[in-house]
Point group: C2
Chain length 268, copies 2
Amino acid sequence: MTVAASIPENYSPAQIIRAEVRAGSHKTVTANLAHGFVQANLAILPSDWADEFEHFCLANPKPCPLLARGEIGSPHFPTLGADIDVRTDVPCYRVFENGIEVSQPTDIRDFWHKDLVAFAIGCSYSFEWALLENEVPMRHLEQNNKVCTYRTNIDTTPRGRFAGKLVVSMRNFTVPNAIRAIEITSRYPQVHGAPIHFGDPSAIGIVDINQPEYGGRPDIRPGEIPLFWACGVTPQSVIESTRPPFCITHKAGHLLVTDRLNEEFRTG
Amino acid sequence: MTVAASIPENYSPAQIIRAEVRAGSHKTVTANLAHGFVQANLAILPSDWADEFEHFCLANPKPCPLLARGEIGSPHFPTLGADIDVRTDVPCYRVFENGIEVSQPTDIRDFWHKDLVAFAIGCSYSFEWALLENEVPMRHLEQNNKVCTYRTNIDTTPRGRFAGKLVVSMRNFTVPNAIRAIEITSRYPQVHGAPIHFGDPSAIGIVDINQPEYGGRPDIRPGEIPLFWACGVTPQSVIESTRPPFCITHKAGHLLVTDRLNEEFRTG
């Protein structure tokens, strides 16, 4: 029996993607899938690191907008989807021991144990969806590129053992669309909200905008302004540099597709 | 009996100002008065010009956010305040015949007649109030100056006999406060909403930002960005250049104080 044949007819696009990921038939990025559904960044930590990480997220809501925290030992996020199982529902994971990546599995059932706590963190796919719904185009999407991200000189607010620099994603717009992009994204505070900066990259410690840490070379045209958003790579970067004895995150672009709608997170 | 003695104790700050204006004891600008209450730009036209003007406002909601239209011959705006009388409640008026200013009275009872229609249009004092409530400072207020306004090269959307260029007001901010200012003002679409431009003044036809049409010389410091909002001077400017046989507006800064709260106009 194929995966497709086993998927109930009444499944939503989000449930279909999760079923395919769970069955091992979808192992690639989740960009542009399950249009309108919230996708989440994943972080899994030992329980004695969990409270500190939650405090770090709550102290840094723009880069680390916390969508859900699982119970100790539970791989489920009932508020994000009744059948979600974080051990199987992400296309590709990264497993770290003492800050060193030891595996990139497509399933973490063998790594899971009853002392782990899972966190779901909002993702810019949600506000990119909102921008597209409002007909604000983004160059990297038009060119089928990954969004450019940069490490800044801005410190996150440290909590416990978690501290580090803010990572931002950049999107460039004409001035009218930059104003629209600020208006629109400010209405989605749980998925990074409004940008933290626009214009001069050096004001936030970016030495060369043409040298992003991730993503391709940006294509910023005359009259366009770069806008910089706090990025969900920040908590991953902070976890990696904090080097807990064990942690699991997702591979970039391989996110958890939830049953929640982006529109539910709109405020006003 | 003095005016103060005749004002009932239960009057709101808005009702107190209107009573003082009506009694002729307040003849100056209304800036910084009746904190939190909506102030309105005023336009009064002959009835055979009224529908066209309303259509012009509705086609240009950013410069001309229509708050109320009175009945033909009625000087009242019941939705803005039960006792409002536009013949007496504005500190200083401008009366035009065929586009020529013929008087600046403090009371228009002698000019009023049963064929006139009054319009109340939103004002930037409301969003400036919202910015101050959110601790976003404005240089012109700190320096006790009038806001700078400029005529742009942007055409309003013409309707009937009404057409003309957009007039904008300028406020300069640091980048973080510019983002906040866009976020905040976008939530007040009935009082001009988000800016229409930021950055390069020449992109909207402003040749020299240091030469505003009204207001003092701007004080834009290194790292600050000028933001430009559609301004309530636009409808006045358009009416004057359209030259109806008769019209009445208010003198700059001498607005109608209403009973509505700015906060009522917040969306989200």
